[in-house]
């Protein structure tokens, strides 16, 4: 019981800090999106495609979360987009206080969209809100179509599902219709985009959703 109590204290402390993050973001009119997935599903690739799409149109900022290394932040930095790398050490998720520190280092007065790449993990990140406005889970074709059954909380918490690497469908036994049905069973209002960060398919629709959400937020 002790472990559970500690966890409960930790998550309510996290929620309070997350609410402060939301206030800071709202003050600047920024739409913040928390991107979550297994390792290697394509979070960084989706961010890079999103940056490319909005170049000259909307101003992006990025927070990169990883247990270790700064290779993802380096990839973003090369695009000339403000980025802060968070290394969690051993923690399996970003937490709200880590995002608070990162927000301090970003030029928020010159940003429209904040993309937060969470640690690659389908479990822990679903438990910690960061102060984001939208939660997005990315699944990729090579991972298989059984993930909603095994990791239900992630698919229940997300506002959007991006199915990535859709160009690889012919190489895998992945039942897209069944997958969508399983996810909708957990979460009837989730929006779904099928994309390929390699071929560019579906990126337009994904970015239109972001632009619409920003418009709604600022309306």
């Amino acid at each position: 019981m002790k472990k559970l109590e500690v966890l409960k204290n930790v998550t309510s402390a996290n929620d309070a800090i997350a609410a402060q993050n939301t206030q800071v973001l709202d003050k600047h009119g920024i739409l913040a999106i928390n991107l979550m997935s297994s390792p290697g599903s394509g979070k960084t690739s989706l961010i890079l495609k999103t940056i490319e799409h909005f170049k000259g149109e909307l101003r992006l900022a990025v927070i990169e979360g990883d247990v270790a290394s700064k290779i993802d932040a380096d990839r973003i930095d090369k695009q000339g987009v403000p980025v802060v790398q968070i290394n969690t050490g051993g923690s399996c998720s970003l937490e709200a206080h880590m995002v608070t520190s990162a927000l301090d280092k970003l030029p928020l007065e010159r940003a429209d969209i904040l993309l937060i790449e969470n640690v690659g993990n389908l479990i822990c990140p679903a438990e910690f809100t960061l102060g984001e406005h939208k939660k997005v889970v990315i699944s990729s074709i090579p991972e298989g179509d059984d993930k909603p059954l095994k990791y239900p909380l992630m698919f229940t918490e997300a506002d959007v599902l991006v199915i990535n690497k859709i160009d690889l469908l012919s190489h895998f036994e992945f039942d897209v219709t069944g997958f969508r049905k399983a996810v909708k069973g957990l979460n009837p209002t989730i929006e779904v985009f099928e994309v390929s960060c390699k071929t560019g398919v579906g990126i337009q629709a994904w970015c239109s959703w972001i632009a619409d959400e920003l418009r709604k937020k600022r309306a």
Copy 2:
């Protein structure tokens, strides 16, 4: 600091239970292997290939770990191999006490090899020993070759690395030589097998390693 202290207590309690699990396994002359990877890297597929290989030769038993569902256990059960499904609820790793409960339900007197499929996650499972004799990490080609840098503890703790879905190399920018070098940099004595659970390539070598380890254990 309080969180850290609790974590330390939890892991030393876990280690004590893990040592008891090892005693039980050793009493029965069983070699136990803990399989860890991201979601969808092919843990269950590797177990199925291993079952197929050893049919009529060695007796296998399996523990399946997942946050939710029993679909993996159902796949194993169809092969006529004794299997216990553990659902962790929200926990991001199997822990030793869960394995203790599963051992109670398996016919240990009729098993040579125990394969333990951990929760799909590259972070938490590296922190919990279960009483296994060997730790195996599976990486798959679609995940990308940067994982050792991002999840160093997993690649440091493992005795063996299995690179799965090797048949997909031509579809991805995955530098196998660089990947092996990064892993060996963290863990110079790790053994590496390149396999495809789809085509069967490399399964013979992987299973020979298991048979050798069992022989050494019983010598």
